[in-house]
Structures are given as structure tokens and as C-alpha cells.
């Protein structure tokens, strides 16, 4: 991947909130940045390791509720709740990943799909903890320590730009971690798993350990995205993290280009922009056209937008 493209994308991300000044666009920017974290972490499973997860939003939700409840019930500062959200999601990833990653075939897809539904049901039914279907309103804004012992409160209704940059930092870190892993021994081992698990094992790769490693890391990042979402929207409801949300992330990953360096950026940006444009024409017709768009993009760009670009330029995907 030429540095020029990455630099251009980075520049675009940095100046975007200056160019897009309306609250509606800035809201989409923040959500897109959160989606970049989610899709980048999902792509470490789908694109890099060939592990298709249809329950990624569940880990996002676990992170969101963990962070919100820690801040609201235990008075934990945001900077502690953020990593705690990552840890909680990673713990869930460990529990569900350990048994399910041992087996091959469709097994992992199915377990993540059903696990996602179970998490939504739990968030709905555990009323004492989550307030269930009533939702969790009034989540405090994120606060960051500032010079001289003061604190800045990131009021996301008055100023979305500062929050956007906070999310952007996490998103860039996620992308950086992903690219480091892809270039590492672990990354090569995972590609070996994706292409031919038997061969990988024969060559002495402990495939289960590597798969576990990448899955736990991926779910931890989804948890971080959850915390960022909770203190952005200040309201959580179980349905935000249901199977539809998981499917959405999956679609963004594939349309952007699974396993390509910039795919996790292009997917969320492109789909958010297209959906937003279509919605402003007519809500019902816009939804129909979005369906058409999905089918056409998959038909004509089966490797995703970035994948086709790379293919045309004669590059192999990772």
C-alpha cells in the first residue's frame, strides 16, 4: 500500500470536521469513526484469519454497557472505564472463543451469530443491571484530565469535533495494531490458517493459540468502540447491539474490501455516505435503493472497493 494513499486518507480524516460543519454531518463522522474501529477489528477476523463473525456488535454492546454502568453506578472515571470496557468484551471473547475456535467449518459463524442474539436477550432481560428495554438514559459525557488538575468534559451535543478526534485517535491505533499484526509472525500464521489450516498445523503453527489471540484482541477493540459510543450518545438500548448491527458491520467489511489495508476505512465511509444520501431522497425508496446498491456493489466489486483497486493495480491482498 503506497504511503501516499494512507497519507491522503489521514489528511482527509483530520480535516473532515472542518469541512463538514453541520451537526448532522459531524454526527455521522463520529459514528463512522466508531464504525472504522469496529470494522477494522472485525476485519482481523474475516479478512486476515478467515473467521467470519456474525456477532461482533455483541462485544460492542458489552463494552458500551460496561463503560456506562461503571461510570454511572461506580463513579469510575472515563479513562478507567474505557479500558475496562475493552477488558470486559475481551473476557466475553475468551469465553466464547476458546471452545468455538477449536473446530472448523461454519462452526465459528454459527456460534458468534447465536451468541450475538443471546447477548441482546440478556441485555433486555437483566433489568436490574441494564434497565432492560427501558434503556439507559443520561450517561455522563467523557471527561479527560487536563493541565493543572482540571478536567475537560466532552459535551458531545455542543461540540462533536473534539470527541471526533478522540475517537479518531483510537481508530488510528486500531488500524496501526492491525497493520502491525498483519506484518508479524502471528499475521503470517493467521493467513496460513485462512488458506489451509492443515498445512499450517503441519508446519508447526499452534493455530488455536493464534486464532484465540486475534479474536480476543478484536473483541477488546470492539469493547473500546462500545465505550466511545456510550459516552457519545449518552443513551443505550439493547436493540442498538442486535444482530442487525452485526450484519451491518459485516456488510461494511465486505463492501469495503475484506483483508485490504484501507478496506475498513472505505467500507464505513462509503456506506454511511451512500445511505445518508439515499435517505435524504425518500425514506422508503431510499431503503430499497440501498438494497440495490448492496447487490450491485457485491456483484461488480466482489473483492470490495479497495480489493478491486488493488487487484487492478496487480497487488495481492494480504
Amino acid at each position: 500500500m503506497p504511503g501516499a494513499w494512507v497519507g491522503l486518507a489521514l489528511l482527509g480524516a483530520l480535516v473532515a470536521p472542518v469541512l463538514l460543519r453541520s451537526p448532522s454531518h459531524q454526527n455521522l463522522l463520529v459514528l463512522t469513526a466508531i464504525n472504522v474501529i469496529l470494522v477494522a477489528s472485525l476485519d482481523m477476523l474475516i479478512g486476515l484469519s478467515g473467521l467470519v463473525s456474525l456477532g461482533h456488535a455483541a462485544f460492542w454492546g458489552i463494552g458500551a454497557y460496561t463503560s456506562a454502568l461503571l461510570v454511572m453506578r461506580a463513579g469510575v472515571p472515563f479513562l478507567v472505564a474505557l479500558p475496562a470496557a475493552g477488558l470486559a468484551a475481551a473476557a466475553a471473547g475468551l469465553v466464547i472463543g476458546y471452545p468455538s475456535l477449536r473446530l472448523r467449518g461454519h462452526y465459528f459463524v454459527l456460534v458468534t451469530f447465536i451468541f450475538g442474539i443471546i447477548v441482546t436477550l440478556l441485555l433486555t432481560s437483566w433489568v436490574e443491571l441494564t434497565r432492560g428495554p427501558m434503556g439507559l438514559p443520561g450517561i455522563p459525557f467523557a471527561t479527560l484530565p487536563w493541565v493543572g488538575g482540571t478536567e475537560v468534559v466532552l459535551n458531545t451535543f455542543q461540540d462533536k469535533v473534539r470527541y471526533y478526534y478522540l475517537v479518531l485517535v483510537v481508530a488510528l491505533l486500531t488500524l496501526w495494531v492491525r497493520s502491525r499484526i498483519m506484518g508479524s509472525r502471528m499475521g503470517r500464521a493467521l493467513v496460513a490458517v485462512r488458506e489451509d489450516e492443515d498445512l499450517g498445523q503441519t508446519l508447526g503453527v499452534d493455530t488455536h493459540r493464534y486464532k484465540m489471540g486475534v479474536f480476543v484482541l478484536s473483541t477488546a477493540q470492539a469493547g473500546l468502540a462500545g465505550s466511545l459510543y456510550a459516552h457519545y450518545s449518552t443513551f443505550l438500548a439493547p436493540e442498538t447491539f442486535d444482530y442487525v448491527a452485526s450484519f451491518d458491520l459485516f456488510v461494511m467489511n465486505l463492501v469495503g474490501g475484506a483483508g485490504t489495508p484501507l478496506g475498513p476505512v472505505v467500507g464505513p465511509v462509503l456506506l454511511t455516505a451512500v445511505r445518508d444520501a439515499l435517505r435524504s431522497t425518500h425514506p422508503v425508496l431510499g431503503a430499497v435503493l440501498f438494497g440495490v446498491f448492496l447487490i450491485l456493489s457485491i456483484q461488480f466489486l466482489p473483492r470490495g472497493v479497495v480489493g478491486v483497486w488493488d487487484h487492478l493495480r496487480g497487488r495481492r491482498r494480504w
Binding site: S24, H25, L31, P137, A237, T281
Partner: protein
Amino acid sequence: MRWRSLAWVVCGVAVAVAGLRLPAAGGPGVETVTVGFALPLTGAAAREGQESLEGAQLAVRLLNEAGGFRVGGRTVRFEVVSEDDRCTPAGGTEAANRLVARRVAFVGGSFCSSAALAQQPIFAQARIPQVIYAYATDLTGVARQRAGADLSVRIGPQAAVEMAPLAKYAVTVNNHRRFFAMAQNTDFGRSMVGEFRRVLERLGGRFVAEPEFYTFPGTTDFRTILTKARGSGADALLAIGLVGEMIGVSLQFRELGLGLGFYGSDLLEDPAYQDAVGERANGFFYPWVYDDGVDPRRFTRTEPERMAREMSLAFLNNLKKRATRNHAWGWGTIHLLKQAMEREGTTDPERVMRRVLSGERFDLPLGRYGFLPCGQADMRVGVGSYVDGRRTLMVDRDFAGRPPVVLTSADLCPR
């Protein structure tokens, strides 16, 4: 080539739509007030959202055709814009931010609780008054306080308004005291069941079992819960759900031959329910919210519902259809704002809303009432039933306030 032609089609559509959306030019001395509606226009509550919007659009069309209305010596016209919130929190946030960006002066919606809860702090920060339709108690309680949403009101009932008269009717008129309750596992279902229980227990009744909450309303088969109710020792059933569920529960209740009293949600007054269930709903009771004067009644009305008649006539004359309660949300929003503007002599949003919250009464399609300091409409609903397959109003809106009093204004604003 396919892509290029597709691109042209998309551009063409976009230009056409943009053309349609150009604001109508106002003449000299004419002020245009933009009201934004954040409603579910797609998704599971699309019909409710679309009808609410239709109500607002017709109200505005008729007002503008009549040349607008006078506010403090100037002529005011309304303009309606809408955004789809898909009945989800994320959609609600998106729709709210879009309406803030479009600089609307007032907002109507959402119809859905979770979307409205996500929107409330956004409109509060932008100081845009929000006229809410959703039922969640928090919207006029803890969520409103935390969001600092002092400019938001709920124009219709909440759980306590609907369930208090129904529970009282069950105990004092029908002598049903032992209840089996079932509801969808949502804010709506849970709060309705909770309020019914509160009044029931105050009047000496009780639930014979913990309420049953079901999760996937679309595919839930109610026979198992109803079979449970049959053997529970209850003398009546309380069932809270949306139209599709109420149809299912009612039919299966009849099939299983449950010899219990039947108390349902307000959705029993929905025309789709009436079409599907008809005579089989005879003897079922529900809180009636909307009354256009057509349904037969068992009481003499003291105060006619002027605005409901007006809206119903407007729908018949202009759109050749019968207005529903969903239309009342949008229609009511427009007319609430109009009346408050006329009385206050200004279109300034903060002053208009202070007038709305002053306690003065307004003529609205769901009755003539004012608003409490917590934003809740100080309104009441009656109890209806099906007689010979027809909706019939059994007691009037003042029922819950007659001794024994089961609902006071204080009950509607916690603390």
C-alpha cells in the same frame, strides 16, 4: 456504461427531490415557521410514523391554504420537514442531528420510546422544543431532568393515564380482581403492566402470577401463555402489545375458550384490529384515547371534542379517509403550537413553550387539556369496549378522577 447510466438516474432523482424541497417563498410580512418531525418512516412502526406525519401535513396544508394565521400582527405559515428515525436509538440520533442542522424551530416526535430518549438530550442542547408522542415514563421524568429538556412536552397519554381508568373499571364495574398479565418485553409493555398493577392493588385486586413478557412479538405464539392463564385461577387477563400482537392474543384467547375477562392495550381501538378481530372482540375492554364522536357511547358527554371532529372532517373531505389516533399526533402538534403562538403573540420557541407549559388548556384532537411542569399532558382517557363488533365508549375521560380517585395530576409527574 451501466454505472454511468445509474449515476445519471441517481443524479436526476436527487435534483428532482431537491427541487421539490425548496421552501415556499413567503410574501412580505409573512413568517414561515419550520416544524421538523422525527418519526419512524421505515421499519416496524412505519405506519404509525407515516400517519403522524400525514396528520401534520394536512393540518399545515389547510392552515396555509387559508392564508396562514395571525400572530402579534403578522401572518405565520408553517412548513413541515421530516426525518426517518427507523424507531431505533441510532436512527433517532441521526434524525435529531439532521433536524438540528436544518434549523427547525420546533420538533414533533418520536413515536418510539427508545428513539425519543436518544433524541431528547440533542434537542435540549440545541434549545429546540420537542413535542413527544412516545409513552416511556422517563421522557417526562428522569431522562428529561438529566437532559435538561425543559422545553419538551408529551402531547398524549403515558402508561398511568391509560391503565388507571382501565384497572379501576375492571375492579369497580366488572368486579375483576384477580389478574393474569402478559405484555411485550419493551418499555411500553412493562410500564403499562406496572401502572395497571399499581391501581389494581390499591383497589384491592392483585396479579395471580408474575407478568409474562415475550420477546419476539412477530413470531410469538400466545397459546402457551394463554394456556397458563387458563389454569392460573385468574378471573381476567391483561394483555399489552401492538396491533399485530393484540390480534393474535384476541383470536387465540377465543380459540382456547378462556372464560376470563379481557383487558387490552389502547391498540384495540386501531381500525386494523377492528377489521381482523371484529365480533370476536365483544366484551373486551381497552383504554380509549381518541374519540371523533362517531363511536356509540354509554354516557352523555359534557364537553365535545371539537378538534377531533374538525380533524376527522378534514380527513374525510380532503383525503377521503377516516382519521386515526396516529394522525392526531401530527395534527395535534401543529395546532398546539398554533394556539400557543396566537396566545403568546410570538413565534419565539422558548416563549411559545413556556405558554404551553403554563397550565392553560389547549384544544387538541385528544381532548382539551393543559400540560404539567414535568412536560406531561394533563389529560385523561376513558374505557371502551366492543359491543356487537363495534367500538363502544363505556365511560368518559373523567372516570379515573371520580371517587375513588385513582389518578391525579400529581401521579403524572413523579416527585
